[in-house]
């Protein structure tokens, strides 16, 4: 399952950090953060609750970049 989310982040490196953090989150198979279009594509593992996982993704991203936002 793949989903796209809008994000807000100020710097390109922070976007890369978010991508790394998202990929590390359990339940996420793969993720791409596009800094230029401010979008995040997340591919989830089979049979997981995307909403719950995205909550954790958001938490993890906030740890590396306080100013970032993922619009769920």
């Amino acid at each position: 399952m793949k989903k796209t989310y809008k994000i807000d982040v100020d710097c390109a490196n922070c976007a890369n950090l978010m991508e790394t953090e998202t990929k590390k989150t359990v339940g996420v198979k793969d993720a791409v953060v596009n800094f230029m279009t401010l979008k995040m594509k997340v591919e989830f593992e089979d049979g997981v609750d995307a909403k719950e996982i995205m909550g954790r993704v958001r938490e993890n991203c906030k740890k590396v970049e306080r100013d970032c936002e993922i619009f769920l």
Binding site: D10, A12, N13, N16, N34, F35, M36, T37, D67
Partner: protein, 619 residues
């Protein structure tokens, strides 16, 4: 500027003015320290907060944390030394200027590029009892009749049910070629209606319509990251820790031996300022984004940064003939009269009459060559003889139109033609009258396109075709293509292409019309589909999509990619180079904090400005 940018701009301005003013005020001691702390906090308080946040989450290489250590360190040194706090405040000030500029420039180019791709219609006009109503195109169901006024964009793909007009496809193809449309014509979203009012019955939903699809494709393109982007992301992950560790080593190891703690700590702080990877990281995706955006304005859709990168390395271009280099529809090339009673005009006239009811492509081209075919001549007893031709009685004379076998059968003594193409012979009452040569016309820009590709650095150009050797040879010579393969069945094209692929050193692109060459398109390093406007299959199969069918766009696409990648390389080498140079100079004491600020902020600004150059399309 958005609200956040405005606020930060004000902070930067106030802090800068304060800092300058403080230099003209006579204060000293503790008072001076606190006075300088004011602009520092104004411009840097969010960085300090972020640093605390990073510390709490045990992120040793957090950018804000490093910047905080560098500036606080500079403050400490200043207290210890001469009490000149300018440097400490300036580092924070310039760091914030850099951040602000980055945010502004990226926001601006984001906006510019999406404006370039401004084909998304905002509304659709639907007729209701109270007259016209503007609705969200997303809410329009398939089969609804929408109204498009002159000057408006067609919002949704559909068929014209009323009215006629001229459409401008410039937003989709980059070429301002007006197209006449009338009732029954299929129209695609994104075109601009130039004059008449059109009523259109929609055949697709908004999300499935051409304009939405193209936009989605271009926006998604920058998510397919190139090797350069992945390289720089990896580099950034290693670069910061390495520089920070070096800074730590620099602050501790040399002074153990020499004892000069201040000097070495100052040099270590310089390292911290340079350790921020942002200049590198921002300019690369920005270059690709701008390149893809600029190309799309030209009607060249590149489906990923990775394809833009591969395209720039193309050394071999393999092209399909029909539909790519030639128009793909047959036209009368020559008419040769061989009987004094029938001149060329008369021959075409008779041939068109005979072919009146036929739907064969050759019949179409004959009728097209003689537009007002339905005159007062009597055409009767039309008889089609399979594999031979057609016979009909025109004004009482039996006219036979067909191939050589047909001529033999009716007893006409035909002559061979020296021209290459399909030869249609005509006999009247069994007596040979002459022949018409029909061939697939070469596109107007084809020759120029081949020459342009060579000048863009393509080393080898191949042409593949299913046509006969004779026709292939003629087209190849005319276009100055040295390598061609003819009489290929669709499956042969794939094997032939694979042979070329394995024999080439650089990347190989394949250009086709995207309809029947999908297997080859997907086999190529870069598959380029031409004339894809309105063809979903072609858009799906290819990596690069040329919206119209002008072969000149192939070299244009290659040039755009080469320019973009050149900019990417410049930025990588320039940013890394300046940083490393400043690190070395800083370590041996030849660079001060100001040089470090340049290596961080200055390089970033220059790299961003350079990246935006990708938007300008090379001619």
């Amino acid at each position: 500027m958005n609200a956040k940018q405005k606020k930060n701009f004000a902070r930067i301005l106030i802090a800068a003015i304060l800092l300058i003013a403080l230099n003209f005020v006579e204060i000293s001691g503790v008072g001076k320290f606190f006075a300088y702390l004011v602009p520092y906090l104004i411009v840097g308080y969010d960085i300090l907060l972020k640093a605390l946040h990073g510390l709490k989450n045990l992120r040793a290489f957090d950018e804000s944390l490093l910047m905080t250590i560098a500036t606080l360190g500079a403050f400490a040194l200043a207290i210890y030394e001469d009490g000149d706090y300018n440097e400490a405040v300036s580092v924070m000030l310039f760091y914030q200027i850099g951040e602000w500029f980055q945010s502004y420039a990226v926001g601006k180019s984001r906006k510019n590029i999406s404006e370039l791709m401004d084909i998304r219609p905002d509304y659709a006009n639907v007729e209701t009892d109270d007259g016209l109503e503007q609705v969200d195109p997303d809410d329009v169901e398939i089969g609804t009749v929408i109204i498009v006024q002159p000057g408006e964009k067609i919002p949704i793909d559909g068929v014209i049910v009323e009215g006629s007009s001229t459409l401008n496809t410039v937003a989709l193809t980059g070429e301002s070629l007006p197209r006449e449309v009338s009732i029954g014509a299929e129209v695609i979203s994104g075109c601009i209606n130039l004059n008449g009012v059109l009523k259109i019955r929609t055949t697709k939903e908004f999300g499935e319509s051409t304009a939405s699809k193209i936009l989605e494709l271009v926006e998604d393109a920058s998510s397919r990251k190139s090797k350069s982007e992945n390289f720089i992301a990896k580099f950034a992950r290693i670069y910061t820790p390495v520089v920070v560790i070096c800074a730590g080593a620099l602050a501790i190891i040399p002074p153990i031996f020499s004892g000069d703690w201040e000097t070495w700590i100052y040099r270590a702080l310089i390292f911290l300022v340079i350790s921020c990877p942002c200049a590198l990281v921002i300019s690369i995706p920005l270059s690709f984004f701008a390149g893809i955006g600029g190309a799309s304005r030209e009607g060249i859709l590149i489906k990923g940064s990775n394809f833009l990168e591969t395209l720039s390395k193309v050394k071999t271009v393999v092209m399909d003939k029909t539909g790519t280099l030639t128009r793909g529809n047959f036209e009368v090339d020559a008419v040769h009269s061989k009987n004094l009673n029938f001149d060329a005009e008369k021959l075409l006239h008779l041939a068109a009459h005979v072919e009146r009811y036929s739907t064969h492509p050759i019949a179409n081209s004959l009728r097209k060559a003689y537009p007002n075919e339905r005159d007062d001549c009597t055409v009767e007893g039309v008889e089609e003889i399979s594999g031979r031709g057609i016979r009909a009685k025109i004004n009482g004379q039996i006219v036979s139109v067909g191939n050589e076998k047909f001529m033999d059968e009716v007893g006409a003594k035909f002559v061979h033609c020296h021209k290459v193409g399909t030869v249609i012979h005509i006999a009247v009452n069994g007596e040979y009258a002459g022949h018409v040569v029909i061939s697939d016309a070469i596109k107007p820009h084809a020759k120029e396109a081949v020459a342009e590709m060579k000048s863009a650095g393509v080393e080898k150009i191949f042409m593949l075709t299913g046509d006969s050797e004779k026709i292939a040879a003629k087209v190849a010579t005319e276009l100055d293509i040295k390598n061609y393969r003819s009489e290929l069945l669709p499956a042969d094209k794939v094997t032939e292409f694979e042979k070329i692929l394995s024999a080439s050193s650089g990347k190989v692109a394949f250009v086709g019309d995207g309809i029947n060459d999908a297997p080859v398109l997907s086999r190529a390093d870069v598959g380029i589909a031409m004339g894809a406007l309105g063809s979903d299959a072609a858009i799906e199969a290819a990596d690069v999509v040329l919206m119209d069918d002008d072969p000149l766009k192939i070299s244009r696409a290659i040039k755009i990619s080469r320019k973009c990648l050149a900019i990417v390389k410049q930025n990588i080498f320039f940013a890394i180079g300046v940083k490393i140079l400043c690190l070395i100079l800083g370590a041996i004491g030849l660079a001060n904090m100001w040089a470090a600020i340049f290596a961080d902020v200055g390089v970033m600004i220059l790299a961003v400005l350079n990246a935006i150059r990708s938007l300008i399309i090379p001619k």
